[in-house]
Structure formats: C-alpha cells, structure tokens
C-alpha cells in the first residue's frame, strides 16, 4: 500500500513521451475518496494518455499511479480490481444483449453465477437500465449504450470510476443525465470518479477540477475557486488559450 491518506486515486510525477513528443510532464494530483473530479483539457492535452497509464494499457518509468493505495506498477492486479473504466470509444459487443455484455465483463473479473447476476441487476438498476437488460446492444440509443457501459464498469464494485470523455456523441439531454448519474454515484455510493472532458458545462461548481494542457497540470482545486468571478469557459480559455 502506498500514497496519500484518504486518496481514492493518486497520480504523482507522471511523465510520458511518444518518441520525441512529450505527452505528459510531471503530472500530479490526488482525488479524495467519494469525490467527483473533472479532468478538463482541450483535445491533445494528454487526457487519453493519462487514462491509458491509469488503466495500465501502457506503462511508464516516470512517476506513479495509485488506486486506493495500490501502486499500479507494483500491484497492478489489486489496482485494476478497484477501478471501473468507461472508455472514450464504445466497447459494447453490439450483437449481445445488455445482460450478456455485463456477464462477459463480470467473468473477466472472475465473477459468475448468482453473485454475478445479483451484481448485474444492481448495476443496471442503479443506472436505470433494468428494463432494457434483455435488449440487444445494437438496438439501444447512444445514451443508453453509455449507461450500459457505466453499469458494466460498476459490476465488480470498484472504488474508483474512470470515464474518458463518456458523453462524446450524445445529445444535450443524455449528456446532462449521465453527468448527473455519475455525480449521484459519488454523493450517494461514495465512489471516486475521474471524468475527462473538454466540455466546460459538464463541470459543476463544487466539483474537484484539474485542468490539463499540453501534458501539464495548469490548475487544480475546487471548480468554484478556480473560476473566481469568471465563467469556467473564460477561465479555461485563459489557462489553455484553446477553444472549447
């Protein structure tokens, strides 16, 4: 076990390069257990690279990622067991039903039988998808597919939920509903969430906010305090010089 007391997710001194191009440079932040943290950055800021390192899709010798105190490099299985991930790209098997998709994922976490079914039912219920459990994923609309992916990420009861631009391609209503759902998971179930986005309207004033630009942390704190008397969009543009 390692890391800061009470931190669900801790990233310290993380650096990464694609050949000569520096993608992340000394990135450090910690998210308290039960907090919703928005990782805001323009396209190309390094958000997806950071997610790949946090989910061990690839590794780096520079810096450290700890999930509930488990170091991703030294204890990857314990760390991965505590995170749920919603990837930017859709990862549902469209030919399978919602329930079968969740069952497959549960098995990848070593869960089967009644216990898996119980957890699947609870996760679908939590995301308001219980009525659609037997529908084929291909027949769902974009918002419901995303909800299914979030429900899937909850099946193994993770402590930390990582969401990489989960509202891409959704309409305003679906975006708002999913953002509210994940905020609810943090407030009511004590889940720690890291929500990567480039859309400022998905950040709530009391959220923890980390602004990433060109692979570096430009601001880290409570959104309301970072914004000051500006709008978040203006503040974000000030810090990044980019358009949202």
């Amino acid at each position: 076990m390692t890391g800061q007391e009470g931190a669900g997710l801790e990233v310290s001194g993380l650096g990464f390069s694609y050949g000569a191009r520096r993608a992340l440079n000394d990135v450090s932040f910690a998210v308290t257990q039960g907090a919703f943290c928005a990782l805001l950055g323009p396209n190309g800021a390094g958000k997806s690279t950071l997610f790949a390192l946090m989910t061990r899709l690839f590794t780096t010798p520079e810096g450290q990622v700890a999930v509930m105190g488990h170091d991703m490099a030294r204890a990857p299985r314990q760390a991965l067991a505590r995170i749920g991930v919603v990837f930017q790209q859709p990862t549902l098997d469209l030919d399978l039903s919602v329930r079968r998709n969740l069952r497959y994922f549960a098995a990848l976490h070593g869960l089967a039988g009644r216990e898996a079914e119980r957890r699947i039912d609870a996760a679908l219920e939590r995301m308001g998808m219980a009525q659609r459990a037997d529908e084929i994923a291909r027949d769902l609309n974009g918002g419901h597919r995303r909800r299914t992916e979030i429900a899937r990420a909850l099946v193994h009861r993770p402590a930390v939920l990582l969401l990489d631009e989960p509202t891409v391609g959704l309409d305003a209503e679906a975006r708002r509903a999913i953002t509210a759902h994940v905020h609810g998971l943090c407030a009511e179930d004590g889940l720690t969430a890291l929500w990567a986005t480039h859309l400022t309207d998905e950040v709530w004033p009391d959220d923890r906010l980390v602004i990433l630009h060109r692979g570096e942390v430009r601001a880290d704190g409570i959104a309301r305090e970072i914004i000051g008397d500006q709008s978040l969009t203006d503040r974000f543009l000030d810090l990044t010089g980019a358009s949202t």
Partner: protein, 263 residues
C-alpha cells in the same frame, strides 16, 4: 483458480457464439479446404506419384495424403483470422476491456488463443466428416488420436496470430500477413507434397520446409490420424508454440505501449 476458469469459459463461449452468428465464416472455412480436396487434388493426382512413406503402410491416393495438410490449413487460416479480429478489436477499442481486467495478461491472451482453437478444431472435425462422406476414410480411432494434435496445432498457430496482431499497426496492413506468413507457411510445408518430393527439385527448399513449424504440425496430425506418434514433430510443434507464446506476451506487454494513441 476459479476466477481464471470463469474467464476462460466466458471468452471461449463468446468466441463460439460469435462464430455461430457468422455462418458465412463457417461455410468459407469449410469450402476452402474442400476446394483443395476436390479440385486441386483432382489435377495433382495424375502429376504426383506417392511412394509408401510413414505413417502410411500401403499406397494411398493423393486426396488421402492432403487431408492432414488441409486440417492444418484450417488451423492456419483460423489462427490468422483471430489475429485479424484482434487487430479489429484493438482498433474498435474492445481489446481495452480485456486488457484492463485484473486477471493476469498472459492468461487472458491464452484464453483468447484457446477459444480460437476450440472453433478451429470443430471445423477440422466438420471437414474430416465431409471427407469421410466422400470416401476418404481414416481408421476410426485416428479421429480420437488426432484431437490432441489438432489442439496443439491450433494453439501454436493461434499464438502466432496473436503475436502477429501485436506487430500489425493497422487493419490495412493485414494483407502482408497473407503474403508473408500464410502462403509461405502453407506452401513450404509437407501439407501438399512430401518433403522427399520437394528435395527432388531443390535441396534448399526441402531444408526450409523441414524447419517450418507448420510442416511438423501437419506431420503430427498425419501420424496421429493413423494412430502413430511422431516425437520429432511433437517436439518442434511444442518449441514453436512456446516461442510464439513468448512473442505474443512480449507483443502485448504494457511496457511496449502497443495501444499507444495520442490523446
């Protein structure tokens, strides 16, 4: 141990389900060797005389000779097909789901290979059944003895497929696999003609065929179908399986950053 077996079962049934949903894939996987058996063999029968070589104890028809090679062909094409689907899964993102599981990565990759092997072996038996219906029969126990040989061959070629999929950056590059892996591996083997025949035209070519692991997989299957054991073929196939496995694990090592995408 139980979580590992749960994952194995889930990955295997998913692969089988996916295969069952793609009937055209099943039909094309069977049509390919059958065309070779019916059309190619008909033309070659007259041109190619075969002497009595182990494991055969009498003169055999050319069709009988190529049946084990065509089983190998099914395993080879299926191994490459799973490689193609892995590249597709990687481009589509669903590979990430597998690789972020807390189970050991080597086990997850092995599950993928075993799942593909189950599908391949089922196809081999369907092909052997059709060949039997055409009068190309094998001693009844041969069908049983062939099972471990087919499984080992399937695992070897599946591991090769996984290793190759880690080297292919984009789906478009897959055509190269056809030209540089499948065709040389198949044609430079004992699948279609015995090695002594090859030696008559080129000793070098014969030597290349002799070190081709696919030759040994085909021979392992050939001997097993006739209830005989070929130790050398087993050794070569096992060595190649281990080599391809190591290459596959290296290919999917997170330190190598296979899934690197700029974000």
């Amino acid at each position: 141990m139980k979580p590992l077996l749960i994952a194995l079962w889930a990955i295997t049934t998913r692969e089988a389900l996916r295969f069952a949903q793609q009937r055209s894939r099943f039909i094309s996987a069977l049509v390919r060797p059958l065309i070779w058996l019916v059309v190619f063999a008909a033309g070659f029968r007259a041109a190619l005389g075969l002497s009595i070589i182990p494991p055969y104890q009498t003169y055999i028809t050319y069709e009988t000779y190529i049946v084990p090679g065509l089983c190998g062909m099914i395993l080879l094409f299926n191994g490459m097909q799973s490689s193609l689907s892995l590249v597709y899964d990687r481009e589509m993102g669903s590979m990430r789901l597998l690789l972020t599981s807390p189970l050991p990565r080597w086990w997850l990759l092995l599950c993928k290979i075993l799942a593909g092997t189950v599908v391949s072996v089922l196809q081999c038996y369907a092909f052997l059944g059709i060949a039997a219906a055409m009068g190309i029969t094998i001693p009844p126990m041969g069908y049983v003895y062939a099972l471990p040989a087919l499984v080992l061959g399937g695992v070897m070629l599946g591991a090769l497929g996984v290793a190759l999929s880690s080297l292919i950056r984009q789906l478009e590059n897959f055509a190269g696999v056809m030209n540089f892996v499948i065709f040389p591996m198949f044609f430079m083997s004992s699948a279609l003609y015995p090695l002594w025949r090859m030696a008559e035209s080129s000793a070098l070519l014969r030597d290349i065929c002799a070190v081709n692991p696919f030759t040994h997989t085909v021979e392992l299957i050939r001997f097993a179908l006739y209830g005989q054991f070929n130790g050398m073929a087993l050794l070569w196939t096992m060595l190649a399986t281990m080599g391809f496995m190591v290459l596959a694990l290296w290919g999917y090592d997170p330190g190598r950053g296979l899934l690197r995408r700029k974000g």
